[in-house]
């Protein structure tokens, strides 16, 4: 109903990133997450910001969509910034962590905005395939990760509905800080409860359509591997190596 664009929602468009193979997109996302782990200073974060901006330009998705996602998750970013500043007694360190959190949100958003959920499951299954040697059920794991991503917009939607309902009873989130705290405090438990209820309904809906993780499934999309897939993975690996080497040298 709200029509909001959220992390976890697919945004159809024609772009280089949209046309990429889901396997290469997931590998690039994992490589980028590794880069954020190894980025200990603000210069490296700056390089990652540049990389993310280039990727965003290649998605053909309006910048307002990304801005809206960051706006919705701004409190998480602020919490990470404040906590890391307090723990390290350094504003620069806090800022680095804050920037890294923003970058993680953006890179996951790029993945989910440019890849339909079924393709994410397909990509995860293929990427996690080597884990089957360790007796891990990768198709279940892939489905669980994909469903977790899918439930972020549902959780945010339910939270929005509850905040609106509270507003109709005089507890308006937008009015003042006292109302904000009261609204969020009252919202958390019912939002999770309603999201879990929706999860059960979605599971039943999948069952009715004869979905089963124990049966082999085919993929109706033809996922070709192109030059851009290889090129982007090489770029990510190169940047990761540079970041690690820089960390080792300094």
């Amino acid at each position: 109903m709200s029509g909001n664009i959220m992390i976890g929602n697919y945004f159809p468009a024609k772009s280089n990133i949209h046309n990429m193979n889901p396997i290469s997109k997931i590998i690039c996302t994992i490589l980028f997450l590794l880069m954020t782990i190894f980025s200990f200073n603000i210069e490296v974060s700056g390089i990652l910001v540049l990389l993310v901006m280039i990727l965003i330009m290649n998605t053909s998705i309006p910048l307002t969509v990304y801005y809206y996602i960051l706006k919705k998750l701004r409190y998480i970013i602020i919490i990470f910034f404040v906590l890391s500043s307090l723990i390290t007694f350094s504003l620069i360190a806090g800022l680095t962590v804050g920037i890294n959190v923003v970058l993680i949100i953006l890179i996951v958003s790029i993945l989910t905005l440019t890849t339909p959920p079924t393709e994410i499951v397909y990509g995860l299954e293929k990427v996690l395939y080597p884990l089957q040697k360790c007796n891990i059920k990768t198709n279940t794991l892939a489905l669980n990760i994909s469903m977790a991503l899918r439930f972020i917009p549902i959780l945010i939607d339910e939270s929005d509905k509850i905040l609106k309902s509270e507003a109709s009873y005089g507890v308006d989130y937008h009015l003042n800080i006292k109302n904000k705290i009261k609204a969020i405090k009252t919202m958390i438990k019912p939002a999770i409860k309603r999201t879990l209820k929706k999860q059960k309904e979605i599971s039943k809906s999948m069952e009715v359509r004869l979905f089963s993780i124990y049966k082999s499934r085919t993929n109706y999309r033809i996922n070709k591997w192109g030059f851009f897939d290889t090129y982007l993975i090489i770029v990510h690996i190169a940047i990761l190596i540079i970041i690690i080497m820089r960390g080792v040298i300094t």
Partner: protein, 283 residues
Amino acid sequence: MEIRLNKISYIANKKTQLQKTILKDITALIKNNQITVFLGPNGSGKTTLASIISLLNNIDSGNITYDNIKINNKIDKINLNILKPKIGFIYQNSCDQFFCNTVKEEIEFALDNLNYHTKDKAKRIKDSLKLVGLNPSYLDKDPLKLSNGEQKLLSIAITLSYNPEVIILDEPTLELDNHNQNKLIKLIKLMKLRYNKTIIVFTKDSNFAHQIADYIYILNNGSIIVKGLKYKIFKNEKLLKENNLTMPDLIKFSYLVETEKSVKIEYRDDINDLMKDIYRHVR
């Protein structure tokens, strides 16, 4: 309370590829102590307009005047605080309204936060449930575990508990069986006649609109197509068809008798009155 809508517009997903104008230049007058019905098919913008009038959504242009208080596209905290306790909104999907663990807590939340002062809160809560036909045994139940019909009745009880001047109902008959629909019609008429409430109903059910409306606005594709008294609107078969609406059954009967048999029978709200007219003609 009288409400004036002046050229209201609302756009969803602004500045994105999914941008869509939901409401365009809506102008309407909702008179005090009257039942105004906004009738429209699916996707006409009824729910969006309902949430705007109940101050849950901001407008993009235009303004709304509630008696002497004007609200435009800027967030006016002072006036919102004054108006919120005076407006009650009953959701289309009742379960969207609930967030407490028990029915009692749901009603208490509204009474506490809208500063509704009462000497006996517990009695007020029980009376609200009684008004909609729910007994006190519902007080300790989880609202999300009630049936759809019970949830709808509960959402009406919560709204009535803090005695708002304006009651806005969005598709109120959606989850109700015939018995509860008839009860709701009687309750709406009681609210208007005995308690002088201003009632606004958003629906696509022509039969329901016919039974309660004093004044009708037909909404389609985000605009007001036509407005008027109910008989004038419901007799216009072509207009209803163009807007994917059906003629109410009682009106249709009288209309067909007049057009196909050239016998003029009065247009009635109640089937008993219609039967008396037919009996008089037959005699």
